[in-house]
Assembly symmetry: C2
Homo-oligomer: 379 residues x 2
Amino acid sequence: MSEALRCGDSSRGWRMLSPPQTLSDRTKSAAYASRDTVCTDHMVVVSWDDETGWSDPELTAYGPLSLYPTASCLHYATECFEGMKVYAGDDGNLRLFRPSLNARRMGLSAGRISLPVPEASELEKLIIALIAVDGPRWLAGRPGSWMYLRPAMIGTHQQLGVAAPRQALLFITMSYMAPLHTVPGGMHLLTSSADTVRAWPGGFGYAKVGANYGPSIPALQTAQRAGFHQVLWLYGSEGICTEAGGSNLFFVWQRPQDGKRELITAPLDDNIILDGITRQSCLELARERYGRDLVISERSYTINDVFKASDEGRLEECFSAGTAYFICPITRIQHRGVDIAISPGDVTTNMRNWLEDIQCGRIAHDWAVIVKPSTPSSG
Amino acid sequence: MSEALRCGDSSRGWRMLSPPQTLSDRTKSAAYASRDTVCTDHMVVVSWDDETGWSDPELTAYGPLSLYPTASCLHYATECFEGMKVYAGDDGNLRLFRPSLNARRMGLSAGRISLPVPEASELEKLIIALIAVDGPRWLAGRPGSWMYLRPAMIGTHQQLGVAAPRQALLFITMSYMAPLHTVPGGMHLLTSSADTVRAWPGGFGYAKVGANYGPSIPALQTAQRAGFHQVLWLYGSEGICTEAGGSNLFFVWQRPQDGKRELITAPLDDNIILDGITRQSCLELARERYGRDLVISERSYTINDVFKASDEGRLEECFSAGTAYFICPITRIQHRGVDIAISPGDVTTNMRNWLEDIQCGRIAHDWAVIVKPSTPSSG
C-alpha cells in the first residue's frame, strides 16, 4: 500500500500467523482475573513510512512490538488512540456503535500530534476485520457483554530531534476489561484543584492523544486516595466544568430564569473537551425523543452554577458519558471540601437504555454496524 | 535491587553483552550522514515493578526494546526524559556538565507523570557508567566535540485503564546528533499563533515529559515551512514570552524607566517553563561576572515589550539557552507578520564562551564532572 491506507483488497490477502482455535472458559476466567489488560489472540498492524507510505496491513498473533529506544513515541508522546466496544447482541450478532465516528476522530487526533492520517473508511475495515476473527471466540454465548477495541498509532522513527515522525505504526488490539460501566452506587467526583488543569484553549484537549492522559494521572490518584472515582476537571478561575475523568459530563437541572428542565454539557467550540461519540449520541437522542420537554444546551457552566442549583433544589441528575464508563450516574460531587449528593433520574436511565437497545440490537438503528464472523484466507 | 535504584555495587556486577571494539572512522562517518539518530554500542536498562522494585541495571548492547501493544507509554504518554551532553575536553578528558541537576529533574518529571522516582545519585552513576564505556570510542581525538545522552523512563505496564503504571523501564542511550548549536546567521523565531499554546498554569510545562513535545510539533512545522527555525511560545492574551522551541529564552535590553542594561528571562514560579540547567547556569554566571553592570531579572514580559524595545532602539540581544542548541543567538523574530532583527552581542558571546570553557576543561570548575574511561567486568 502506498498512498492511502487500504485493506480488504483480496489480491493482497491477509497475513495471519495463528489460526483461530476454541477458547476454553478456563482461559477466559484466568483473563478476567488478571490485573493486566488481556488481549485476544490477534492484532492488526500497519506500518507507515514517509517515503513508502502505508504497508500492507497484517492480522498477526498478539505479541510484543519491537521499538528502538530512540523511537519518537517513547520520548515525545507522538501517539494517539481510539476506544470503542463491540457488543454481543441478544440476537447473537456482534455490533459496533458508530465506528465511522471513531475512525474519523482517529485522523483528527493523528494530525494534531503530527502523525499520518489514515483513511477513515479503511481504518474501519481493519477494526471490523479483527473483530470478525477474534470476536466470536470471546463473545459467543454472552449476550449483553462486550469487548474493548483499541486502535492506536505511534511514531516509531528513531530520531531524538523534535520533529514529525518519519515512520509510524498503527495497531489495533481487542481486549477484555473489567466492566467499568457498573459503578455500584454511582460515580463520585472530586473537582480538580486550582493548580491542576487538564486542558486549555489552544491546547489539545479535544484530541485523543496520549498527552492528555498521563499528565492527568496524579490528580486521579489524589481523588482516588480521597475515596472518589474520578476527577471533575474544572477550567479557569471561575471553575468551568469540562469533563469527568476521561468522560464527558452532563447535568439535568431546572433553569433559574424560567424553571425549564435543561440537559447541559460543555461546548466543543473552545477545543478543551473531547468530542465524545457517546456525548454526541446523547445529545441527538435527547433532541429527538424528549422534544420540547427538555432544553438541550451545549454551553459553558461553572461548578458554582451546579452547587447553586443543588442549594436551590433545582439540580436533578448528573451523569458521565463515554465508551469506557458508558452512561454512569454521578451521585456525589465534592468541591473545595463541600459535598453535594445527586440521585439518578429518568434522563440518565433513558440514555442508558436507549443506547443499549441500539448496541444490543433490540431495536434496528443505523448507528449499529453488524460485524459478521469470518476466517480470513491465509496469505 | 529492590527499594532504591542503585548501581556501582560490585557484588552485583554489570551484565554486558558485547565487548568494546575499535570504531572505524568510516562507521562514524556513516552515522553522521544518517537521517536517524545513531546510538553508540551500548545502553543502560533498568526495569521497575511496583511489587519488586528496581531490577539490577544492565549495560547491554544497544538494540530494540520489546513492548506490549497495551504498554501504558504507548497510549497515555507515561514517559519522561533528560537531555545532556558529554564533552571531549582540550585535555582529552570527557566531562559532564552539572549532571546532578539532570538526575534530580528526571525525578521531578517522573513524579509528574506518575512514574517511579529514581534516586538522583544512582541515576547519575548509571549515566557515567555508560559514558565510561562508550564515550572514549566516539570522542577520542575530537576535542571540542560532544555526544548526546538521553536518560528516559517509560510506563511499560500492560493496562489500558488510565492509571499509574505498575511497571516501568528506565533506559539511557548515548548518541551522535548533528551539531544543532551552530545555526548559521543565528536562529529565526516565529511567535506561536493565538490558538496554539504550549503550556499553561496548572499544567506540566515545567516537567520534561513527552506530553510537552509531540503536541508542539505541528506549530514547529508551521514555523519551519515559513522559513523559521523554531517557535517563540507565547502565553495568554497579552502574549507573555515563555520559551524558544524547546529552549529557554533570554533578552538583553535597556530598561525603559532608567536605561539600565537588563538580562531578562521568564520566571519559574508559574510552572509554565522548563527549569533549564543552561538557563540556571547563565543566570548564575551573569550574576557572578557582570555584577552591577547588568540587572538580572526573572520575570514575565510580553512580546509587545520586546517589539517596543526594538522600536525604541533599546533591544540589544536575544539568545536561546538549552542543551540541544546550547547558547544560540536569535537574530530575527516575527510576530503577526511584523519582523524585528537583532544582532548578537557580548552577553551572548560571553555566556557561550564561559560555559564552553567549563565544559571543555579550559578552566577548572566544579560544574564539570570528569568521566574516566572504564571497561566493566562482565557479569
